[in-house]
């Protein structure tokens, strides 16, 4: 249960911060003027704020020095007026970006979701959902805040600082220059800070993602953890991950603390020198008291923009990290895409063929042969083909190739003679429906789950298909749920047993009324009686539908017209169940059950040597034999 980080794209050369953030323009698009106007409003507000000290200067040197009380009120009114403008601009700055900022976030979130749904299953095999979630939620929220405030304020504060320092210099070049020179170390420190903070912020975001994955696993795997009493063990792994996140966060805080030391110390040094110098200049009559007052008032206005630079810098770096993580997904190349000119089948016949099909997983080491190593198999329209083979021999993978959940690495899969890659995925998956062994139900009603493949149906037609599918899959239990077929199931709803989920998944595949039905061991979790009833119903459906059924049991095989045996990456035999039983040793090994041997042995031990499978009528002669240890593995062969 060790932690693993997934950053498949981290070996790409990293773009500079500015270039990386520049990519966001794709999503800002038409909203650009809004952001520009917001920046303009912010700038006007800041400049107005900078003129207030000028008014103070005139006031101190004019009416206050001259003892003219009548001028006090007009000056104060002027300050009030400027202050009002500043507040208005401030409001405008925020108002302008409320809509555009949130819309950019929404646009990016929808784009990410759409991309993730478009990416093939192989991508999702590699990326834990926790990592994807942190991209979709917190990263995008951060980017929105940065666009609306971070970016605008960075630009505006920089301009304010430049203009402010200019004003300071124009008041008195010596004072202004001292202030400027003393503030310079901030930029150096800020630059050094950049690299380290960026790295650390990425690390902490990744670690948080891994921690979220650990939490998910501890909840989804709770039955296992409880069964083995391994809560403590899981906790120690979790603790270790949480601890490493903590040390990253503390290291981050140390960096943060250091930059704050500089951010406060540097202006303090600058101002203390300016204070001493200013007093000296004023005492010598070089500047007026009003100028000195204005100088400090201006410096106060500049204090926040200067201090904020550190925060904004960190903010921009976080935003850059978030942007990189977003594009890491968006830039992932999708190997399974729709063709430019997709073929269209009106009424498919349902002829499914595999020709020289090879498949290997990308990360499979060279020393292994292809998992599917030249599969040839033809399934005629309306025929039901069972696919039999040992666990892990590639049966499930083979079924996944039919709807392009994965693509063949060589050879082709065809539907009615047309390569499946020539169809749009939408069209292909309308003709071929699948039921997976681990049945996934979504947090929706039973009805929605079963009719997932038939969005076009409504009203009575939908009801009819729904009830028929539920009947075929023997899923009558849904009527006993609290809200019947409207009961919410899935993660957020009622929890159902494995067998119940499997039956709903089967009902879903049946309800899709496809030309080709692909079922991956669809009855494994059912009890014998239910399985028999489902099989009886399925027979009617399969009479008219092409089907490929992964089977582990003789009972499932019996549904099929023919059986294909998958062995070492190839189809080594095709025929009826009895033909294969007769002809293929491997088939007998794979499909003949233990019980046949148990039954067979006492009979063979008796007088007449009868061929396997054994006679199954009536109870065996000696029931103790049932418990005899079966130690000979190949007895059936």
């Amino acid at each position: 249960m060790s932690a693993i980080s997934h950053h498949p794209a981290s070996d790409q050369p990293r773009l500079g911060t500015v270039r990386s953030l520049w990519r966001l323009r794709l999503y800002v698009g038409r909203s650009t003027p809004a952001f520009a106007f917001s920046a303009l409003a912010a700038l006007i507000g800041q400049l107005v704020a900078l003129t207030i000290p000028q008014v103070l200067e005139s006031m101190v040197d004019g009416p206050l020095a001259g003892g003219d009380p009548s001028a006090v009120v007009p000056f104060a009114l002027l300050v009030f007026g400027l202050g009002t403008v500043e507040a208005l601009m401030y409001g405008l700055r925020r108002w302008l970006v409320v809509g555009p900022g949130t819309r950019v976030e929404a646009r990016m979130r929808n784009a990410l979701y759409a991309k993730l749904q478009d990416l093939p299953v192989s991508f999702h095999d590699r990326w834990p959902s926790g990592q994807l979630l942190s991209r979709a939620v917190s990263d995008l929220g951060l980017i929105r805040r940065w666009l609306s405030f971070g970016l605008v304020l960075t630009v505006v504060n920089l301009i304010t600082i430049i203009v402010g320092v200019g004003i300071l210099i124009s008041m008195n070049w010596m004072l202004g220059l001292v202030f400027l020179v003393c503030s310079l170390p901030l930029w150096v420190v800020g630059y050094l800070f950049e690299g380290r903070y960026s790295e650390m912020s990425r690390r902490s975001q990744d670690q948080a993602g891994d921690l979220a994955t650990a939490v998910e696993e501890s909840v989804h795997g709770i039955r296992v953890l409880k069964a083995f009493g391994r809560g403590k063990h899981a906790l120690s792994t979790f603790r270790a991950q949480a601890e490493s996140l903590r040390s990253t966060e503390i290291a981050k805080a140390k960096l943060d603390a250091n930059i704050w030391v500089w951010l406060i110390l540097v202006p303090a040094v600058a101002l203390s020198i300016c204070l001493g110098l200013g007093i000296w200049l004023a005492a010598n009559g070089v500047i007026t008291v009003g100028t000195l007052v204005a100088f400090f008032a201006t410096a106060t206005v500049l204090a926040w923009p200067i201090e904020s630079i550190g925060f904004l810098l960190a903010f921009s770096l976080d935003a850059r990290t978030a942007t990189d993580r977003f594009f890491e997904v968006l830039d992932s190349e999708n190997e399974i895409v729709d063709p430019e000119a997709p073929r269209v089948l009106g009424e498919p016949h349902g002829a499914l063929s595999f020709t020289g099909v090879h498949f290997r997983y990308q990360d499979s080491p060279d020393r292994f042969d292809d998992l599917l190593d030249g599969v040839d198999l033809d399934i005629a329209p309306g025929e039901t083909m069972a696919l039999v083979g040992l666990t892990g021999c590639g049966k499930t993978t083979l079924t996944a190739l039919t709807t392009r959940l994965y693509d063949v690495t060589a050879g082709s899969v065809t539907l009615d003679g047309v390569d499946v890659r020539a169809f749009s995925r939408e069209e292909l998956r309308r003709h071929i429906a699948m039921a997976f062994e681990d049945a996934t139900l979504f947090s929706a009603s039973v009805r929605e789950n079963v009719l997932l493949g038939r969005p076009e149906l409504d009203g009575d037609a939908a009801e009819e298909v729904l009830h028929e599918a539920l009947r075929i899959a023997q899923a009558g239990f849904v009527h006993d749920l609290p809200d019947g077929i409207d009961t919410k199931v899935g993660e957020e709803g009622m929890s159902l047993s494995g067998g119940q989920r499997q039956r709903l998944a089967l009902a879903r595949a049946v309800a899709a009324k496809p030309a080709v039905l692909v079922l991956d061991d669809p009855l494994s979790a059912l009890d014998v009686a239910t399985e028999a009833r489902v099989e009886a119903e399925l027979r009617n459906v399969l009479a008219s539908t092409t089907a490929l059924i992964v089977a582990h049991r003789p009972s499932t095989v019996m549904l099929a017209d023919r059986v294909a045996l998958l062995e070492a990456g190839r189809i080594t035999a095709v025929g009826t169940h009895s033909e294969l039983l007769r002809e293929s040793e491997h088939y007998r090994f794979v499909i003949s059950s233990l019980e046949d041997e148990a039954e067979a042995r006492p009979v063979q031990a008796g007088a007449a040597a009868r061929p396997a499978p054994a006679d199954t009528d009536g109870p065996g002669p000696d029931h103790h034999e049932l418990r005899a240890p079966q130690t000979t593995r190949g007895a059936a062969s």
């Binding site: 249960m1 060790s2 932690a3 207030i52 206050l64 009380p69 006090v72 104060a76 202050g83 925020r94 949130t102 749904q117 999702h124 590699r126 834990p128 979630l133 939490v215 696993e217 909840v219 989804h220 709770i222 069964a227 063990h233 906790l235 949480a242 903590r246 966060e249 943060d256 704050w260 406060i264 303090a268 203390s272 001493g276 007093i279 007052v293 008032a297 106060t300 292994f368 083979g389 040992l390 892990g392 995925r425 309308r430 996934t440 493949g453 993660e491 929890s495 494995g498 009890d527 582990h552 003789p554 009972s555 499909i591 233990l594 019980e595 046949d596 499978p613 103790h624 079966q630 130690t631």
Partner: protein, 601 residues
């Protein structure tokens, strides 16, 4: 309606009393989290007080410099000017280093609290019974531990720093203003009235919106995670477009409520600036007349203006983190609810040790029900001698799994006792219980990590050889060797590329390695192919030879290795006997067995 634990968590209409109750429990939780950090908290508080005081001294020193320094210097007296310059420098140095200290300390405190809280929730989640997990759903318990903890992290990270520092800064600034010029202090006091009204308006409006915002984000997250984890089904049934529409709707809801929140800020913050600037203008008027009259020094007026202006500075940030505070406190409320949930299968207060279990299991007068009128297992007695292998058969919903879960102590009986070697399971030390009784279920969950790690879960101290031996014993060795990196292969994300049957084999190896006195197999071979099942059954012959076993299987092949068969129907054991006797009889099992054999051909 009660609000104890997680009940009514999604409700929006708490009564006053209920809100108070919920708040009280989350404050209790907060207190227990803060207590271990007391010493550091005091130190931090001291650092904030001194640094805020130092920062607040700035304008007063400038005022002193202008009013005393300039006239003194004109008379060639350097001391006041030099004093002002140095004092200003000193406040800067003290302020800077104390703030740095404060940031480090608060990060340490925040992280310590977080890790404490994370651990508590994690542990508690693990302690809560399966019954709780089945009704509370995994999505919700995960968001308690991720998004809710994130909300608290955000507050601790930056929010609290800004909130506390801002507050102290305001207090000291106001204090300094009153000291240097009480009249200007009066202006500030008057300004507090509109400030209070505006802030109250903001608070009331934002509270409702923040709540909606959290609901909207939770819905968004659920939909997202579900799509990602169910991607195969999503693509196979072409629900991408419909999902996009639905997700787009959720995104828009979330966007809308966010925009409303931001709209509030767009009124509140400029409002603050307006009040601040008006106060400055008022200070100027009141101060200006007095300067003209000679009743006030110019430097003091400057300081008063600076103080008045600065007073409002932190308000904005504080308002921004009011949001953080809100979501953190509601997160804390929900987390405290989860922590308040009593495990319905609690650890014993005085655990009885059972170092070496024999495996003798007894059910004495056991009854299990969800509610009075939903009895799942009516009262029954059952004795399983040590070493016996029992097959449990019956239709889906007959109560087989419930019986097994009682034995594994996933549930406790509503009445009666389940015993192991005569000891009530509820009294047994959890460590001994889990070592003695292991249940393997149909859904063989694999954790991220290597195959070896996953098998070692059965016995964390196992050597690699032991792991391999376990895999060999259940016939998993060959396929594991065939994986890209053998035993070190990563079984990514929900078992990714390991097939369902292979997962079951790994989980079997896990159980084999755990070597329990009582082994419960609930449909544990359902996805295996026949040769694998044959191997497993062979393995079981040795594995089960000296231990008690309860095997639930739909396929009656399992019966072959059982000493005894229990047939269940509607929660009752209707037949109990050796397989031979039952098959030979005319009961339920004889009929099932005949039907099953027909299906084999």
């Amino acid at each position: 309606m009660s609000v104890t634990g997680v009940q009514g968590e999604e409700r929006l209409d708490y009564t006053k009393a209920e809100s108070r109750e919920i708040r009280r429990r989350s404050v209790r939780l907060l207190g227990s989290l803060l207590r271990p950090q007391r010493a550091k908290l005091w130190l931090t508080a001291a650092a904030i007080v001194v640094s805020s005081a130092a920062q607040a001294a700035g304008p007063a020193i400038i005022a002193f410099g202008i009013d005393q320094g300039i006239p003194a210097l004109v008379e060639q007296n350097w001391y006041p000017a030099a004093f002002a310059g140095l004092a200003y420098l000193l406040t800067g140095v003290v302020g800077a280093f104390l703030i740095a200290m404060y940031i480090r300390l608060s990060a340490r405190i925040g992280q310590a609290i977080l890790i404490d809280l994370r651990t508590r929730v994690f542990l508690h989640t693990q302690r809560l019974s399966l019954e709780f997990h089945e009704s509370y759903t995994s999505g919700r318990i995960i968001s308690r531990q991720t998004s809710d903890l994130d909300a608290i992290r955000e507050l601790l990270d930056e929010g609290l720093t800004l909130l506390v520092r801002g507050l102290m800064y305001m207090v000291f600034t106001a204090g300094a203003l009153v000291i240097i010029d009480p009249t200007s202090g009066l202006v500030l006091l008057v300004a507090l009235v509109p400030l209070g009204i505006l802030t109250r308006w903001f608070q009331v409006r934002s509270q409702a919106l923040f709540r909606r915002s959290r609901v909207a984000s939770a819905q968004l997250i659920v939909k997202f995670v579900e799509t990602m984890t169910g991607m195969r089904a999503v693509q196979a049934f072409r629900s991408e477009k419909r999902n996009e529409a639905e997700f787009g709707g959720l995104v828009e809801d979330y966007r809308d409520v966010n925009a409303r929140v931001l709209g509030l800020f767009a009124v509140y913050n400029p409002g603050l600036a307006f009040i601040g600037n008006t106060a400055v203008a008022a200070t100027l008027v009141l101060g200006g007349f007095r300067v003209v009259d000679g009743a006030l020094e110019i430097g003091v007026l400057l300081a008063a203006v600076l103080y008045t202006k600065r007073f409002f500075d932190p308000m904005e940030d504080m308002a921004m983190f009011y949001n953080g505070y809100q979501s953190a406190s509601s997160a804390l409320e929900k987390i405290s609810g989860v922590l308040e949930e009593e495990p319905s299968v609690p650890d014993p207060a005085h655990p009885v040790d059972l170092r070496r279990a024999e495996g003798h299991v007894g059910f004495e007068g056991v009854q299990f029900e969800y509610t009075r009128d939903r009895v799942i297992l009516p009262r029954f007695d059952l004795d399983l001698p040590a070493g016996q292998t029992v097959a449990l058969v019956g239709a889906t919903g007959a109560g087989k799994t419930t019986l097994a879960k009682l034995l594994a102590r996933f549930y406790d009986p509503s009445d009666g006792v389940v015993t192991l070697d005569g000891v009530d399971l509820r009294e047994l030390h959890p460590k001994d219980l889990r070592r003695a009784i292991v249940m393997v279920t149909q859904e063989a969950y694999l954790f991220s990590g290597s195959v070896a790690d996953n098998i070692a879960l059965g016995k964390p101290a196992a050597t690699f050889d032991e792991i391999v031996a376990a895999a060999k014993a259940v016939g998993a060795h060959e396929f594991i060797e065939g994986l890209p990196n053998g035993y070190d292969t990563d079984v990514n994300k929900r078992g990714g590329r390991v097939s369902a049957g292979q997962r079951q084999l790994i989980s079997f190896a896990r159980a084999f390695l755990a070597d329990p006195a009582v082994l419960i197999l609930d449909e544990a071979t359902s996805s295996l192919d026949i040769p694998s099942e044959r191997l497993v059954q062979e393995g079981l012959q040795t594995l089960l030879a000296d231990r008690t076993a309860v095997i639930i299987a739909h396929r009656l092949s399992t019966v072959a290795i059982a000493d005894r068969v229990l047939v269940m129907e509607q929660g009752r054991i209707i037949e109990d006997g050796s397989p031979a006797d039952l098959i030979g009889g005319s009961g339920r099992f004889a009929a099932m067995h005949a039907a099953w054999r027909d299906s084999l051909v």
